[in-house]
């Protein structure tokens, strides 16, 4: 019985990892598409949203089935609860990837106002946070989540710096307003993705230790 449960649990965790990889690919590729104004890549990202929804649903169903079949307790229960929350956060991050890809499409035929440096840098930081959080989940090691508060602060600063830079472009020439608004939105999306990564980190902390922390 325990063996069967453990096999199911292993599968559940692997599927969360797969979903996280899909989400990361959506986020990375969407920012790449924006950087290179590559609408073909943006279309590809958008097309992954069906798979994302499918994984969200199937993992939820599997988790609920495990609750019904095994009535898990203690850490088993905390793990399944963490999975149920994580997939929602991951789903939202994936959807932000899709939204960024939508912005790439909105900018079709245009050129960037300045070289896009900070947005890819910020996306990179967010990607690292998501990778670390998923790794912590798989190996059940919370030590790599210790600096999440600082990393989240850095994302906030980056968003603000992008906002300030865009303001100067907009004041310089009002024709930049539409495009700069898009950049500000992307920075906001990336910051939200970081927040989701922090929420996942909180859930994993609870899953592993049974204690709650707040990262903000």
């Amino acid at each position: 019985m325990r063996e069967k449960f453990e096999m199911d649990m292993e599968n559940l965790k692997r599927n969360v990892e797969k979903m996280a990889n899909l989400v990361l690919s959506m986020l990375d590729d969407s920012v790449k598409s924006l950087k290179n104004l590559d609408t073909k890549l943006a279309d590809e990202v958008i097309s992954r949203k069906g798979k994302l929804a499918e994984m969200d649903e199937s993992i939820e169903e599997n988790a609920l089935r495990m609750v019904a079949l095994y009535q898990p307790m203690a850490k088993d229960l905390r793990t399944i609860a963490a999975v149920l929350k994580m997939i929602t956060y991951l789903y939202r991050i994936g959807r932000y990837g899709k939204d960024i890809a939508g912005i790439t499409k909105a900018l079709e035929g245009k050129q960037h106002i300045a070289k896009l440096v900070e947005i890819p840098y910020m996306a990179n930081k967010v990607g690292e946070m998501i990778r670390d959080v998923i790794n912590a989940f798989i190996i059940e090691d919370i030590s790599q989540l210790n600096d999440f508060r600082e990393r989240d602060d850095e994302l906030d600063s980056l968003r603000y710096s992008i906002f300030r830079e865009c303001l100067t472009y907009m004041m310089e020439d009002p024709r930049n307003i539409t495009q700069c608004s898009h950049y500000i939105m992307v920075a906001k999306y990336l910051e939200r993705c970081g927040d989701h990564a922090c929420k996942i980190a909180e859930k994993i902390y609870y899953m592993v230790t049974g204690k709650r922390i707040e990262i903000k």
């Binding site: 325990r2 009535q71 898990p72 307790m73 203690a74 850490k75 609870y206």
Partner: protein, 254 residues
């Protein structure tokens, strides 16, 4: 009066040389369902039997330390174990109604022996009251002169609970009361336990953590005669402090 129904202090129980309960310090709040869980042979039933001095009947059992019932020490020389057992009812794993007595007499006997009712009318109403409390009245009201052998396992167990309630105890001890009862009967008994805590303190021994989770307010986890952890059920079952409890709940402890 103490806010606890039962308190143990440095309680130790030995069967001969076998140290079965080790330095147990437990507080059971009033009007709650308190579950004692742990793997087979960990001392749960022995602990329960120490709460109404049932171990007195076991020649090789030796009890050290203190057990207080509503603040009163039950292991002092001037305590009458018969009086204690009137306050502390007990229900066992195997439903054990008296086979030679009718349903009515099964409940009446304790009341008669202890002269707790003065006439037939009072007896009738007390029997109806306890059968109703035990959720059995509707099923047996037309066959009170029938014998318990004609009842199902779950009905027998509820009859035994009615017999215990009839004495108007303060505490009801239950030793795996649903271990030998089908799921439907078990569910009825679990519902009944939940009802009983309004008037009584119920101490329930169970080896199914799921049952403890469903019915209890507090739970104590016992392992190899020692108290590993005790606390509110909701907390113990989601985030226990002890690694041993965690392992037991996850089925990794054998």
């Amino acid at each position: 009066m103490s806010e606890f129904a039962i308190e143990t202090e440095d309680l130790n129980v030995y069967y001969g040389k076998n140290h079965v309960i080790k330095n147990m310090n437990l507080k059971i709040p009033k009007n709650t369902v308190f579950a004692i869980m742990g793997p087979s042979g960990c001392g749960k039933s022995t602990l329960l039997r120490s709460f109404n001095r049932l171990l007195d009947l076991n020649k090789i059992a030796r009890v050290q330390g203190s057990v207080k019932l509503f603040g009163e020490e039950i292991y002092s020389n001037n305590t009458d174990s018969i009086v204690i057992r009137k306050d502390v009812g007990m229900v066992f794993q195997y439903p054990n109604p008296f086979p030679h007595l009718t349903i009515y007499d099964n409940i009446a006997i304790g009341l008669k022996m202890n002269k707790l009712v003065k006439d037939k009318n009072e007896m009738d109403s007390r029997i109806e009251w306890s059968l109703k409390k035990a959720g059995l009245w509707d099923e047996v009201k037309d066959r009170l002169e029938d014998y318990p052998s004609n009842l199902s396992g779950g009905q027998k167990q509820r009859l035994v609970i009615a017999r215990a309630i009839a004495m108007k105890p303060k505490v009801i001890l239950m030793d795996e009361p649903t271990a030998n009862i089908d799921p439907v009967g078990s569910k009825k008994i679990e519902d009944l336990i939940f009802e009983l805590k309004k008037d009584y303190t119920v101490v329930l021994v169970t080896h199914t953590p799921a049952q403890a989770a469903r019915v209890s307010d507090y739970v104590a986890f016992i392992y190899m005669g020692e108290l590993v952890e005790t606390g509110k059920t909701g907390i113990i079952f989601t985030s226990p402090k002890s690694k041993t409890t965690e392992k037991y709940l996850m089925g990794e402890l054998v």
